[in-house]
């Protein structure tokens, strides 16, 4: 009996002390209970954020395809310009789906297939000359997608009239753009269709382990902010090249007037995902609510406030950067750098503080908590 008594003693001492401590804690922490509707959050994400955003991106690519075909049936500088307008819309709306590279999008390697930039112009031209190529081949990963179309619709050194003429005289060029578009359309289609079946899997995987929906979403969000900070801003700004500016590495370099806007669209989408906000502005259950429910703290105040505040700052600094980005990195370095610095701070919050507070595991290996 003695042993049982001892164990009971241990338990009761534990609980007595715990109760004491709890009372002390109650005063400074409002959220004592952190019950949170995780599957409700995942439901909001899939129904109101992810699927509609991918749908918008897909629709815009489809409308661009229509406009490009209109240009082909009547090759004038006006129809070329209309096609370019639709292309810009498609590139902007693509920013809404770039983040969602998981689930059915994982096989389609979204950001690699749609948006590897800078594009390899010699490779594109050689493909066009040869007339035979396989866009699915690894060698063509930087000769396809939006950046390739960006180049072919806006080739440097050609006036609009000359460009129209190029399309009129080179069926291979016409076909190359068509093939790039068809590749993106089929991939976007697969993703949308894939979500029909994947959605319930996504909503029901409510854990926080590797491969859980929450883990996957947060990992992709972090991947996207990394991509934005590095590829879209940092590399042109010379962050990886001893300060040497690389304007030709800007996103949509050949359209050349939308790079900052694309980055803004990307940042907006990251914020929408963080908040669980739909395209219509409905702020549903999202990571922000989850962090609040957990009572996650930052150095001063709540982590959610720190993150939301940092989104505001980063957006306001990015708003000061003028188009084209290829010009600003050279002539207005300080402004671009200020935006970059705020993106880095945002990245730290989203990549370090947030996963840590959510208890998200990012590797498969065993750990012992140290």
């Amino acid at each position: 009996m003695k042993k049982v008594a001892l164990i009971f003693l241990l338990f009761s001492v534990t609980f007595a002390v715990v109760e004491c401590k709890k009372k002390n804690q109650l005063e400074d922490e409002k959220d004592e209970e952190t019950s949170f509707d995780k599957s409700g959050m995942l439901n909001n994400y899939s129904s109101n954020v992810i699927i509609p955003n991918i749908q918008v991106a897909k629709n815009s690519i489809d409308s661009f395809a229509v406009a490009y075909n209109a240009f082909l049936s009547n090759k004038t500088t006006q129809t070329l310009d209309l096609a370019r307008q639709k292309f810009i819309k498609a590139y902007k709306d693509y920013q809404k789906m770039e983040l969602f590279g998981f689930g059915p999008a994982e096989n389609e390697l979204v950001s690699a297939n749609f948006n590897t930039f800078p594009t390899d112009t010699p490779q594109i031209l050689s493909n066009i000359t040869n007339g035979t190529y396989n866009l699915a081949a690894f060698i063509n990963i930087d000769a396809k997608g939006l950046p390739a179309v960006d180049y072919l619709l806006n080739s440097t050194g050609y006036s609009d009239v000359q460009l129209v003429n190029l399309f009129a005289t080179s069926p291979n060029r016409v076909a190359y753009v068509n093939n790039c578009i068809a590749d993106m359309q089929s991939k976007a289609n697969n993703i949308i269709n894939g979500w029909n079946g994947y959605q319930s899997t996504f909503i029901n995987s409510t854990g926080s382990e590797v491969g859980s929906s929450l883990g996957v979403l947060v990992n992709n969000l972090d991947f996207q902010i990394d991509l934005m900070k590095n590829a879209k801003v940092g590399i042109p700004l010379g962050k990886k090249s001893l300060g040497a500016k690389l304007p030709e590495k800007c996103e949509a370099y050949y359209t050349n007037s939308i790079s900052v806007n694309l980055t803004k669209a990307c940042l907006d989408n990251i914020e929408n995902v963080y908040l669980g906000r739909s395209l219509t502005g409905n702020d549903g259950l999202g990571l922000d609510d989850y962090l609040s429910a957990l009572g996650a703290q930052h150095t001063t105040g709540s982590l959610n406030d720190a993150i939301k505040n940092q989104f505001t700052i980063a957006k306001s600094k990015l708003a000061l950067v003028n188009e084209p980005l290829s010009n600003s990195v050279i002539n207005d370095e300080a402004t671009v750098d200020a935006a970059y610095v705020e993106m880095v701070k945002l990245l730290v919050l989203l990549k370090t503080d947030m996963p840590s507070a959510l208890g998200i595991v990012i590797t498969y290996q065993d750990g012992d908590g140290d």
Partner: protein, 428 residues
């Protein structure tokens, strides 16, 4: 006193199976331990050979087949694998290394083993309590120090990091909603601490062994349920059976005999008694071993600052489950003459696990800085300086810089001296 030790060896065999399956990925660089920089992984597929050998020797140990040689080889190979890269440091790997080291000196093959089947003169039904005591002391040290380490304000007063880790499992059936309650995190924290401190004593008292063992099972199963800690719970559950009486182990051996149809050999009661000289050497060895075991966890006292933040003196001290630490490290290669910088993409050089560990552990940053310096010298940068901006969050207190960005880490050496360039945790 009978043999339970054979059972321990079989656990080690069991565990080794897991590691053979475990892919040994070959990253571009490895993070060596200070003093063991000369330890390098084998080229290509040869590492698989090491794991196969490990499994083989573990099996031999379990069967008691060339026991002593197998134990030595197992210890050497296992420790070798662990020393290659401190990214993979885990307290339970360290524990396995130590246990296999102790097993080298124990007469664990004197009963119910292939060695005794082939060499009848080795056979003994009893060994001195002395040998079994060493394993018991080692288990005692592990639990007790793990318990001591839990006596800190984050663990007891703030229920951290359990307050972060438990709610992450709120989707679990039945208990899920409980896990989000704050008092549960406190209960787990306090229970865990008292458990670790009390269990080694309870195990030593024969009367309490059984209830203590029930607690051992419950505790370790709970931890394996909630945390990603691999084999450790099962190792401890099995190892603690050493505290049981001989009857328990004899019964297990009898069950094994009937399952595998091994007939009971003719036994005469005999006790293995080591020579006086052997005993003297072993005693000195064990005393040194346990002195080191007791002192090493306290070495952190020699360093300033928050132990969990700086991790100076953190490893090899049975500090388990104590912190939720995460970081993002931006490394910069700076050209000394111009002051111009290249921001490094860690992904280009490190595995995700290495990146994760390095971002929060200053001594690993030094290793990485040395690597980067060499790499960029090759790429033609004269006198590269390596600096880091690493933001780290500890137990949900908000990320902050861990290292002074003005320090050229490529000039620092990884050693036991205090790392002055680690910024204090509580800088107001």
């Amino acid at each position: 006193m009978a043999f339970g030790i054979l059972m321990l060896a079989s656990v080690i065999r069991f565990m080794s199976k897991g590691w053979v399956y475990d892919m040994y990925i070959r990253p571009k660089l490895f993070f060596p331990y200070y003093g063991f920089e000369w330890i390098k992984p084998l080229e290509g597929n040869a590492m698989y050979m090491v794991f196969i050998l490990l499994a083989l020797f573990a099996l031999f140990m379990a069967l008691g087949f060339f026991y002593r040689v197998s134990a030595i080889m197992f210890f050497i190979l296992f420790t070798y694998v662990e020393l290659i890269d401190k990214t993979n440091y885990l307290n339970h790997y360290y524990f396995i290394s130590i246990t296999s080291f102790l097993l080298i000196f124990l007469p664990a093959h004197r009963y119910f083993s292939l060695d005794t089947y082939h060499h009848k003169h080795l056979q003994a039904t009893h060994v001195p309590n002395y040998f079994i005591l060493t394993i018991k002391i080692q288990v005692f040290i592990v639990y007790f120090f793990a318990g001591l380490a839990k006596i800190n304000s984050d663990w007891l007063l703030h229920a951290q990091p359990l307050k972060i880790w438990l709610p992450a499992h709120s989707e679990m059936p039945l208990i899920g909603s409980l896990l989000t309650k704050e008092w549960v995190a406190y209960a787990f924290s306090w229970f865990g601490c008292i458990y670790d401190l009390a269990i080694p004593f309870l195990l030593f008292i024969p009367r309490f062994v059984k209830p203590a063992y029930v607690l051992v099972i419950l505790f370790h199963l709970a931890t394996s349920l909630f945390f990603n800690i691999g084999m450790f719970p099962y190792i401890m559950i099995t190892l603690t059976t050493i505290f049981f009486t001989e009857n328990f182990h004899i019964r297990i051996i009898e069950i094994l005999r009937s399952v595998f149809k091994i007939r009971q050999p003719d036994e005469t009661l005999s006790t293995y008694i080591p020579s006086y000289k052997t005993l003297k050497v072993l005693t000195v060895l064990f005393i040194i071993h346990f002195a080191i075991q007791v002192l090493v966890p306290f070495r952190y006292l020699l360093y300033d600052g928050n132990l969990y933040w700086t991790e100076q003196g953190y490893r090899f001290s049975w500090r388990v489950m104590l912190m939720e630490k995460a970081g993002t490290a931006f490394f910069f290669v700076r050209e000394k003459s111009t002051g111009k910088e290249i921001e490094i993409s860690n992904r280009d050089y490190l595995t995700p696990m290495q990146e994760k560990m390095m971002a929060t552990q200053p001594d690993m940053m030094i290793n990485y800085a040395h690597f980067l310096k060499k790499e960029f010298k090759h790429k033609g940068i004269q006198e590269p300086e390596i600096v880091v901006e690493s933001y780290v969050t500890l137990n949900g207190k908000g990320s902050r810089l861990i290292v002074d960005k003005t320090t050229d880490l490529s000039l620092e050496q990884d050693n036991f001296k205090p790392k002055k360039w680690i910024l204090p945790f509580d800088k107001k």
